[in-house]
């Protein structure tokens, strides 16, 4: 594995304009994550955590500053190239599970891999089944998402994000919609899988216990990380 940071951003600024009002959200953020590192981000609601994840995940363009994935700058990439890189480097886990309702669990797990066009269909089905077993849903591959509980859906989403072997997982309050016990179980699963596969993890959370598990804890206030 390369020594480049999994992700590196500098002087990142982003503001939203609604009518005449300019709302600065990010104001010159510097941030790095080493390969396999686990970083947690906390902050008040509305302080810009989701915005930050979107910008470093390449889903939104910053007003200024730069984002590099594995040493590759994003501003040099066109839309399609950016989409391709995102599929290879980044796995995303959301607060609400966002599974595709029309396809079964196994196909949902395969989705990210199909989009990334990695490996052959046969290999990926086998890998997806293994991954489902890892998240404890080995026998649920044929079920439709609507028939799963919230915790089970989040496990599927984690399996999907990890199947492409990304360098970095961006998780936006993955336990936010779950009760405490299920949330803890999901957190255990996410952490152990990331550590095992040496995938870097950026976790946005309101749960101080979960945040404390990280190698590094950051807090976002007024558009910057507190030192």
């Amino acid at each position: 594995m390369s020594d480049e940071p999994a992700i590196e951003v500098a002087r990142l600024a982003k503001s939203y304009r609604t009518g005449a009002v300019q709302l600065p959200v990010l104001q010159g953020v510097d941030f790095q994550v080493a390969p396999g590192e686990f970083v947690s981000i906390q902050g008040e609601s509305g302080c810009g955590k989701t915005t930050f994840l979107n910008v470093i995940g390449g889903l939104e363009t910053p007003d200024s500053g730069y984002v590099k994935w594995n040493g590759v700058g994003l501003d040099g990439l066109n839309r399609n190239a950016l989409a391709r890189e995102r599929a290879r480097f980044i796995g995303i886990v959301f607060q609400s599970y966002y599974l595709v309702p029309e396809i079964d669990v196994l196909q949902n797990v395969l989705m990210a891999m199909r989009i990334a066009q990695q490996s052959s269909a046969k290999d990926s089905v086998a890998a997806a089944k293994t991954m489902l077993e890892r998240v404890g849903l080995g026998d649920r591959g044929g079920q439709m998402p609507a028939t799963l509980s919230g915790g089970e859906r989040q496990r599927v989403a984690i399996a999907r994000a990890l199947l492409t072997r990304p360098r970095l997982i961006l998780a936006d309050e993955p336990t936010g919609n779950l009760d405490e016990r299920t949330g803890n179980a999901i957190m255990d699963l996410l952490e152990s899988l990331c550590r095992e596969t040496q995938t870097a993890l950026v976790l946005v959370t309101h749960n101080a216990e979960h945040a404390a598990r990280a190698d590094r804890q950051l807090t976002l206030t007024k558009g910057c990380f507190d030192a």
Partner: protein
């Protein structure tokens, strides 16, 4: 299968669920249009096809002529018969006469036929329903059913024939004496244009009436079964020097066939609107789907889908609806065409008037001819229109910004 095609398929046909209303309605719309197009166009083709067959049967497949008088026709017939594709050839002379019976005159076209050869080219015996071909000699005529009906002539009646040549003579102060002829038979071919008004007489009489000497106006050619008339006309032409020309009887009836062709085109464009209207429902339903699935679209983008792939996902749904709808429309269309006898009978049973209608269209059953090129044109139009309908929602989906799509509630 690429992921976007797979998702498109599952949107249309979700696993383990009932067929979505959208799929059902839009497929039905396209299918109805395709079905009507297949039926109507095939019936129009049927009319055209039947007409060609009747023309070829009543006039021969091809004719050899020079625009004036072919003097040495025996020699030309020998040349024609040497070609293996030519089954038979018979001379003929054409003109107009004034035919008078009980003081009412009409001006029908007249044709002189070789009594020995004609039957080999045109199955004339089978058309005669009153009198007999064997009674036709140099002093008698065969008349078409239309003439027989309007002048109320029967077999055995005498009619007066005046020719243009007689009028020429009249100018030179000669006495005008009509040629009296006996009606030897009445015929009906099934081809309106002929049945309305035609007089047949012997070639010798015709040569005499028109002052042709030993000449004729044309040689009618019957081709061996399965020979393409248009190609044969081109090939046979090589054996003759201009002004002698080999041409198809279809050409002489081009006006008639052109009307059918024109009507067919009009119907095609009118019925195409059913497909277009059907496609509007595809477009609106897909637009709603794009709005409803905004977060799902954002998710695909977050997983690294390009905007063209996302657009393709929705465009393919329009395409798939087009393909499935066309296929179903074709199947139902063919099925209805195969059941047409029962359906027309049922219709006539309800509205009545089967005999009159059939007579008017001079076919005993609804003619149908399925043309592959027409099917291809219909299929291409239907699929392209449905795909275009998917294009607008697809572009909307492709333009969604991932972050905003994900924030969508």
């Amino acid at each position: 299968m690429p992921w976007y095609a797979y998702i498109a398929l599952r949107h249309l046909f979700p696993k383990g669920k009932r067929l979505p209303f959208f799929t059902f309605m839009s497929v039905t719309g396209v299918a109805l249009g395709a079905m009507l197009l297949v039926i109507v166009i095939s019936v129009f083709n049927g009319f055209g096809h039947e007409l060609r067959k009747v023309i070829a049967e009543t006039s021969g497949d091809l004719k050899l002529h020079n625009g004036r008088i072919v003097e040495d026709y025996e020699k030309e017939i020998a040349t024609l018969l040497a070609d293996p594709r030519v089954e038979a050839a018979a001379p003929a002379a054409f003109g107009f006469v004034m035919l008078q019976s009980r003081r009412s005159p009409i001006f029908p076209p007249v044709q002189g036929i070789d009594l020995n050869e004609e039957e080999k080219v045109v199955p004339i015996r089978k058309y005669i329903y009153d009198g007999s071909l064997d009674d036709l000699d140099d002093d008698s005529v065969l008349i078409s059913s239309g003439i027989a009906n309007t002048l109320r002539i029967r077999v055995g009646d005498e009619v007066d024939i005046y020719t243009p040549l007689m009028i020429e003579k009249l100018k030179q102060d000669e006495i005008l004496l009509p040629r009296q002829m006996r009606v030897a038979g009445v015929f009906e071919t099934g081809f309106n244009k002929i049945d309305e008004s035609l007089v047949l007489t012997s070639l010798r009489t015709m040569q005499d009436l028109y002052g042709l000497g030993e000449g004729v106006h044309a040689i009618k050619i019957k081709l061996a079964p399965g020979i393409d008339a248009d190609q044969a006309a081109i090939d046979l032409q090589d054996g003759f020097d201009p002004p002698l020309r080999v041409s198809s009887w279809i050409d002489s009836n081009a006006d008639f066939l052109a009307i059918i062709e024109f009507e067919k085109r009009m119907m095609f464009f009118l019925l195409l609107f059913i497909v277009i209207v059907g496609s509007f429902s595809i477009a609106t339903s897909l637009l709603t789907a794009v709005v409803r699935k905004t977060r799902e679209i954002g998710l695909f983008a977050a997983m690294g889908a390009s905007s063209s792939q996302i657009a393709a996902c929705f465009c393919l749904q329009g395409f798939a609806v087009g393909v499935v709808g066309t296929a179903i429309g074709f199947v139902i269309g063919f099925w209805i065409l195969s059941m047409r006898d029962g359906i027309t009978d049922a219709l006539f049973w309800i509205i009545g008037g089967k005999e009159q209608s059939m007579e008017f269209y001079f076919f005993s059953r609804l003619p149908v001819h399925i043309e592959t090129t027409d099917l291809i044109v219909i299929a291409v139009f239907a699929v392209v229109i449905a795909t275009l309908a998917g294009l607008v929602p697809a572009m909307k989906a492709g333009r969604l910004r991932p972050a905003e799509a994900l924030r969508n509630e």
